[in-house]
Symmetry: C2
């Protein structure tokens, strides 16, 4: 079986361009003893992958030049020589941007009977959804009825953060990068206040949306957003640092918040986290989220690019605001 794959060709100092990637065709070969052969349905493009394009130590190893862009993908088993896995099974894997692949059975995760469309396992039912859930409930220790601000609120993580907070009876304020996104947040997701950060005075908007101040800030953006949120936190407020997408393409380190000393007098707690730090919460997450989806308390949107050749463009679109909700690339027929 042939598979097209997307490899990293060069390391951009700033915003990536399609030229930094190369599409190659490889022969996947037949499944060997213990292996499965999988045809992907959807590939995930996620902001954290930008960090892996830099040649420096971080919490995940950098991509090598000429290496295929590994990351989340959901697919179906074509042939299996691994016990417990059958053709037709849906599996989640981390082999990334390829149409098909062959792997040891233990390196793919069986999804069982799908509780949502396959692509949702890359979003609301997957890593971004669980990032939102664990970051809000554990890293930020959300209590019912508090006031929450989430940046990047129309993204795969932010849109779940806001909705989980609403389920918990919170007042929710969100920032996003277009009028359409803002409308989605307030009209469909139940945000109490949302604003387009591109033409906004952040502190004024926080004052409008949360006149009593913030108990929790869920940071997907960093930079000015973090600075404004620190200024608007209530005593004993918590900030969960999840991402800093405004800074991922910086060529020089950007200055940090100048008001960090406010954390002293206000007793603020700022906690960085990765979803893998909260792996023990997986069962709770899957149970709660599938329940909330089933009863309509939480909804989601996806932005879908077509064909593996569009993966670089979809990925770059994360940083230019091209997505509402989770960004995925469809590479197979999910039917």
């Amino acid at each position: 079986m042939k598979s097209r794959e997307v490899q990293l060709k060069s390391r951009p100092p700033g915003l990536p361009s399609p030229d930094d990637f190369e599409i190659v065709e490889v022969d996947v070969g037949d499944a060997q003893e213990g292996e499965v052969l999988v045809r992907n349905l959807y590939l995930s493009v996620d902001p954290y992958m930008r960090g892996r394009m830099r040649d420096r130590k971080s919490y995940v190893a950098p991509y090598g030049l000429g290496e295929t862009m590994t990351g989340g993908a959901v697919g179906r088993v074509v042939t299996s020589r691994a016990s417990g896995i059958a053709p037709g099974d849906h599996v989640l894997s981390n082999y990334g941007w390829r149409e098909a692949f062959r792997a040891p059975g233990e390196r793919v995760q069986l999804l069982g009977e799908l509780a949502a469309p396959a692509s949702a396992y890359l979003g609301i039912m997957g890593m971004p959804g669980m990032t939102a859930y664990t970051g809000l409930l554990a890293a930020a220790s959300l209590a019912d009825g508090e006031t929450v601000f989430v940046s990047g609120a129309a993204g795969a993580v932010g849109s779940v953060v806001g909705q989980v907070a609403k389920v918990k009876g919170c007042r929710v304020v969100g920032s996003a990068g277009s009028a359409d996104k803002v409308r989605w947040l307030t009209a469909d997701l139940g945000f109490d206040h949302a604003f387009d950060y591109r033409d906004a005075d952040l502190r004024a908007e926080l004052g409008k949306g949360a006149p009593e101040g913030l108990d929790v800030y869920f940071d997907n953006v960093g930079g000015d957003h973090l600075q404004a949120a620190i200024s608007h936190m209530r005593e004993f407020g918590r900030i969960a640092l999840c991402g800093a997408i405004s800074m991922y393409n910086d060529t020089e380190p950007a200055p940090g918040p100048t008001n960090l000393a406010r954390a002293i007098g206000m007793g603020l707690n700022i906690r960085g986290f990765l979803v893998r730090h909260y792996g023990h919460m997986r069962d709770d997450f899957l149970r709660d989220m599938s329940g909330w989806l089933a009863d309509g308390r939480i909804t989601y949107r996806e932005t879908v690019f077509e064909g593996i050749e569009s993966a670089p463009e979809a990925f770059i679109g994360l940083f230019t605001g091209a997505n509402i909700g989770k960004m995925v690339v469809r590479v197979g027929d999910a039917a």
Copy 2:
């Protein structure tokens, strides 16, 4: 009874000078019903008082111009018309830089039989000691045997932080601003590594003192120290933000740490705190600290200025590194 007092005369944008203060003499008057008349023995000068000299909202109200510099002081009761308080009793108060004062009995704190010299109630047995104790054990959740870095390590708070960490079996690294201070930390206080930050490469010194990285950083300094510590934290490390003395005299907000995003991948927790957030730990603190002092596991030094007219100079000295251990001003005869 006459009392000389130090009032704030002008608000310096940068490092204060003696001209920003004025010494006035007032008539204290006689104790009225319910009041005590107290002659102070020692006045406290503390870095947090710098923030109160600025006319802006913070966790303590700013000093007014022409207002006496309130803050910690320890004294003895001269006359008492308050129940339960007798002449000769030692009391802690917050009336600040004055030789004597008159106050409602409930506004002074009886020290009972002294477990240490009177001045120690402004330092190791008082606010700075309890700041160190609560910040390390509660805000930073110190566990036995961890590796700790404390900046401003020869100060009133830092010197206690390091010693409490040693009592808890930790490896301790400290920074200070002179060779004498560094010698005190390693020779007398048992620090495993200490260095003079003025001529040091902070990250190189942390590498030397804590080759495996830091579990806890207790920040008294901010600025470059905080940046270097963030870079050197181990996974799930904790940073207690106690003060930022390097920035208190800045006329413009200094840029924050550029490496805050490292908190995400490493799961770092950064918590600001004030000693008053941990008031419920007072009994534990007093019991532990008096025990550690009695059995010689913890020791302390003071830098003593003489006479109320030296209070401004003593205070300014906090920012120029004039003190080893707690800085106090003696205004009465403790014998």
